[in-house]
Amino acid sequence: MKPEDLLYATTHEWVHVAADESGGKVATVGISAFAVESLTDLVFIELPEVGRQVKAGESFGEIESVKAVSDVYSPVDGEVIEVNEVLRDDLERLSQDPYEAGWVAKIRMSDEAALAELMDHTAYQKQCADEAH
């Protein structure tokens, strides 16, 4: 997925929305390269449980780095239908390929209203530039 095509939360998660076979909307969620880079030295990720119902803005996972722990927030409402199990043993994928192999969870959306709160790539880049100083 191209970073330019994604939506972003202020808390640095990215979202890609696609239709599944049944016509429902599935959001793939990951963590932006900017966030991964500023965490550095990742130690551990706690993934949400499959089947969990989440609300936009709710913490549904955490990432431990040597220096600090950070919450991972769901950017949308819905049900967690799949998590990237590979990350449990290979957290490097998150830093090496945050927009493809490093995805975190897939959420079947129950409501699309939360998407309106997300930023496009241009707005998100501006936020990152502001945070860097």
């Binding site: 030295d41 130690v43 431990e64 040597v66």
Partner: protein
């Protein structure tokens, strides 16, 4: 915000070497250049270079300088031969820790004896005031000068540090034992070298003129390029000192904590006739009802951070709290220091720690977590 922070003379050097700069004790300091783990590992296996210019340096001259410094610190320092360095605490009248410091006894080029106190950056202003107040009350001749801005300080740490520095300094490093120091020339510049550090590894700390430090840094990196030297930031300074079981002021040490409960008895000479805080510490040495500092290890991956509460496995109320925690790059597991009730502080005691709402199993272990392989320069 960064604009209001103090920059060390190496600020631009750090930026040029890709450092991520953060605020620390009013200074803009490098937290990491590449990765904390890479810089940590380089310190354990090769050599690293740290800018520690933010630490405070106070010099004491005059016929009564030794006696004055001895009055300020918990340890015997008046009888140190020239060239000795000792770790000590500055305590208040109640025995609480104002700072942990290194006391140097040095001789300058004219062979005049002086004392140097190296203090934490976060405590520099407080200690400078404390020194000033007590100097006015002191019956004797002592002159205090603050060298913090006119001199800079570097650390070269790691098993390759001695080999790296051998060609750059005018003194014999083989006879410069752990916790000794000398005035010497470093890459052609006048300064002080000591075999000290905050990493648990063999290494040296260098004091050179603020106007010379950029040249010295270049010389160090050049001399170390075949010995694996990399610049290292405050991030790995913290993981290294934690593995080495060394307390950090503001975490394991504070004015509300006395050095005995911190496990620093070795640095408190209760039999010394006089120092500020002595009477309170003699009384404190009898007490068993204050929490003590312990090391804890966890078997999981979740890391307890400062403020996490510590419990007995079935306990409902906390028996203490975490003061520092991290993931140990050497041991590959979470480690922490905590203050807990003395009755549960024995090595092997099983605990749980509330890590963000979930109790993780932990156990009390002996400090330090990491000890460098024998055969390298060891504690004297």
């Amino acid at each position: 915000m960064i604009g209001t922070l103090v920059q060390t003379p190496l600020y631009q050097w750090h930026v040029d070497h890709g450092a991520r700069m953060v605020e620390f004790a009013g200074y803009s300091m490098p937290i990491v250049y590449t990765s904390i783990v890479a810089e940590h590992t380089a310190t354990r296996t090769a050599a690293t270079f740290f800018d520690i210019s933010h630490m405070g340096r106070l010099r004491f001259d005059g016929p009564d300088a030794a006696r004055f410094v001895d009055h300020l610190v918990t340890r015997r320092t008046a009888d140190m031969p020239a060239g000795r360095v000792r770790y000590a605490l500055v305590t208040n009248e109640e025995g609480g820790v104002l700072d942990d410091v290194l006391v140097y006894h040095l001789r300058d080029g004219a062979h005049a004896s002086y004392r140097l106190l190296v203090v934490n950056a976060s405590n520099h202003d407080k200690i400078a005031r404390w020194v000033d107040v007590h100097r006015r009350r002191f019956d004797g001749q002592v002159e205090v000068s603050d060298l913090t801005n006119s001199w800079s300080m570097l650390a070269v740490q790691g098993p390759n540090a001695a080999e790296l520095l051998a060609s750059l300094v005018d003194c014999d490093l083989a006879s410069l034992h752990y916790y000794t120091a000398a005035e010497t020339r470093i890459a052609g510049k006048g300064g002080v070298i000591s075999r000290t550090g905050y990493t648990g590894e063999d290494g040296f700390e260098l004091i050179v003129g603020a106007n010379a430090v950029v040249d010295v840094a270049k010389s160090l990196m050049e001399a170390g390029k075949n010995l694996g030297i990399v610049p290292a930031g405050l991030g790995c300074r913290d993981t290294l000192r934690l593995e080495a079981g060394m307390p950090l002021y503001g975490h394991e040490l504070a004015e509300e904590i006395n050095p005995l409960q911190a496990g620093l008895e070795f640095a408190v000479a209760l039999d010394k006739p006089e120092f500020i805080g002595r009477d309170a510490l003699v009384a404190a040495s009898e007490r068993t009802d204050v929490p003590v500092r312990v090391g804890v290890e966890l078997s999981g991956r979740r890391i307890p951070r400062e403020g996490a509460e510590v419990f007995l496995p079935a306990g409902a109320s906390p028996i203490g709290g975490v003061t520092s925690g991290t993931f140990s790059p050497t041991l590959q597991r979470p480690i922490a220091m905590a203050y807990i009730d003395r009755s549960h502080a024995e090595v092997g005691t099983e605990l749980t720690i509330d890590v963000r709402g979930r109790h993780e199993p932990a156990s009390v272990v002996a400090l330090p977590f990491y000890r460098r392989p024998s055969g390298r320069e060891s504690t004297s």
